[in-house]
């Protein structure tokens, strides 16, 4: 328990520092976990309590993601979003998966590494767009939709990874039943739910907490993945009053997710035989593959490789979802790889996101100078 409190306190300090420097806190939480945990000083051990809290963090992260998925939302330009989304899947997932496989991971492991390699951190990307005051740029809209597209792909990946050892028909029947039940409750119980959420006592927050936990434990009981069900719960409840649910779930998410990141760091075991060369290759590739996919998106959607560079600069950061995949399905070696991937890309990405305008300006003025020098009558 002392370790737990030390970890929390360290996180609080780190959060303050990262907010002060306006860089994402996620890599620092993980690093703190690594330093305090198994791989480092060994002050903090993961136990049942931390495990429970971490799981809460994951559940609330996914619940939040579900709340953002409003099915009826009309995408301004579906074909563009799909184009950009598929470029992302093919390039990033392709490079990640192939590289992992060639570097000696098994097919299954390579798939998980590839998925973690592909999924951008929605939280970091959107916060950095807001903080760097880039919302107006045309690339920002593309980036936001691609990130949402990736979230939907993640649901598919989670579903794929969880069906491995079950009777498919029964599995899908159970999921279908659970989904329709949730949507029916939110449809017919809408007024009741809204009346509960409108109260200003402790009931709304208690209800939100209970709804997420009940769904997760019922899912476990019936043998369907809790992760998917919590996302579905979020999506179903988003049809009632998503803002209220977000408001009530946010404190849980904020606290538990930090614990989730720290204890992910704590459980990292360097003695499991992670190869630093492989990890370095994957980290470098992670940055390069987003450059390729970003420039392709820029050319296909905005007719400009420079736009692609802007997309790249803002989409390098991997984060919460990569870690979630590693925690749910990864071996210790994968966990170490993904931890390094997240730390490197999120720190590197936060700097490119901050200084992309300078980078862009530099390239444009360089080009202009070159163009001037090549003018046939220059110097006369």
């Amino acid at each position: 328990m002392e370790g737990f409190i030390i970890a929390l306190f360290v996180c609080l300090v780190l959060a303050l520092i990262s907010k002060y420097l306006s860089i994402p806190a996620i890599p620092f939480y993980i690093l703190a976990g690594v330093v305090l945990g198994k791989a480092g000083l060994g002050i903090v051990q993961s136990n049942e309590i931390s495990h429970f809290f971490s799981e809460m963090g994951l559940l609330f992260l996914l619940f939040f993601m579900g709340l953002e998925l409003k099915m009826e939302r009309i995408v301004a330009n579906p074909s563009k979003v799909l184009t950009a989304g598929f470029i992302g899947i093919i390039v990033d997932m392709g490079i990640g998966f192939t590289a992992a496989y060639l570097l000696g991971f098994t097919l299954m492991e390579a798939f998980i590494v590839g998925a973690a390699f592909y999924i951008t951190s929605t939280a970091i990307v959107i916060t950095s767009l807001i903080e760097n005051r880039k919302l107006m740029s045309k690339e920002a809209e593309t980036i936001i939709w691609v990130v949402i597209f990736e979230d939907i792909v993640l649901i598919g990946i989670l579903a794929l990874l969880s069906i491995s050892d079950q009777n498919l028909l029964v599995f899908f029947a159970k999921i279908g039943l659970a989904l329709s039940l949730m949507y029916l409750i939110s449809f017919y119980g809408k007024e009741f739910l809204v009346s509960i959420l409108d109260r200003d006592d402790e009931i709304p927050i208690l209800f939100t907490f209970a709804a997420v936990l009940t769904t997760a434990s019922l899912a476990l009981f019936f043998g369907i993945p809790a992760t998917l069900m919590v996302i579905a719960l979020g999506a179903a409840l988003a049809t009632t009053d998503p803002d209220a649910f977000e408001q009530h779930a946010r404190p849980f998410k904020d606290v538990f997710l930090v614990i989730f990141f720290v204890f992910f760091g704590v459980t990292i075991d360097l003695s499991a035989g992670a190869d630093w060369v492989i990890i370095a290759v994957i980290c470098v590739l992670a940055i390069i593959s987003k450059l390729i996919s970003g420039i392709l998106m820029g050319i296909m959607i905005h007719d400009s490789a420079l736009s692609g560079l802007e997309i790249w600069a803002n989409m390098i950061c991997r984060g919460e979802f990569s870690i979630a995949l590693a925690v749910l399905y990864g071996s210790p070696v994968i966990a170490t790889t993904v931890a390094a991937l997240v730390i490197v890309t999120s720190i590197f990405g936060s700097f490119t996101a901050k200084y992309s305008t300078w980078m862009r300006r530099g390239i444009v003025s360089h080009r202009r100078r070159k163009a001037l020098m090549h003018r046939p009558h220059a110097g006369r």
Binding site: E68, K70, R73, A76, L135, M136, S137, I144
Partner: protein, 161 residues
């Protein structure tokens, strides 16, 4: 003038106006509670941005609707286009020494100016709809409602030192 509004998942709501001169203004109500305003000059590539909190944004809104704002006085004009373009102005005033100790009835505010005092702010507490027997004290701020002519009259006849 084309207005476009868009809900951006995870970010908030975006409003974008393109002016007749070809400049673009975009406003984002972000989920973090701040409001970001971007302006992009016609023919320019990089927008400039300002981040505001809700109070600042409302102030900016008041200025843009054409209301006069001075450092310590603030006024808002609301136009109801459905009611024959009825324009109502709400204005704040700090009361001058001259009327300290007098009541609203003594000053015959409504009869002389047509404007109505709808609230008085005293020591950070608001008194809504003060009765005619209400006595002004030093440091009171009043909120007056009426048409802009009535407000002007109020300013010239009641507020003069």
């Amino acid at each position: 003038m084309a207005l476009r509004s868009l809900n951006l998942p995870g970010v908030g709501t975006k409003y974008e106006i393109e002016t007749d001169k070809g400049d673009t203004i975009a406003i984002f109500f972000t989920k973090t509670g701040t409001i970001q305003m971007y302006t992009l000059q016609n023919g320019c590539n990089t927008p400039s941005a300002a981040v505001m909190n809700p109070v600042e944004a409302r102030r900016l809104g008041n200025i843009l609707t054409g209301a006069i704002i001075e450092a310590d006085k603030e006024s808002v004009e609301i136009a109801f286009s459905a009611l024959a373009d009825l324009r109502i102005t709400i204005h704040t005033f700090f009361i001058p020494q001259r009327i300290v100790g007098k009541t609203i009835e003594d000053l015959q505010i409504r009869a002389k100016t047509g404007a109505t005092i709808i609230a008085v702010c005293r020591n950070d507490k608001n008194i809504i709809n003060p009765p005619p027997s209400f006595v002004f004290e030093d440091g009171d701020a009043t909120l007056v409602i009426g048409e802009s002519d009535q407000i002007k009259k109020f300013e010239h006849e009641i507020m003069v030192e």
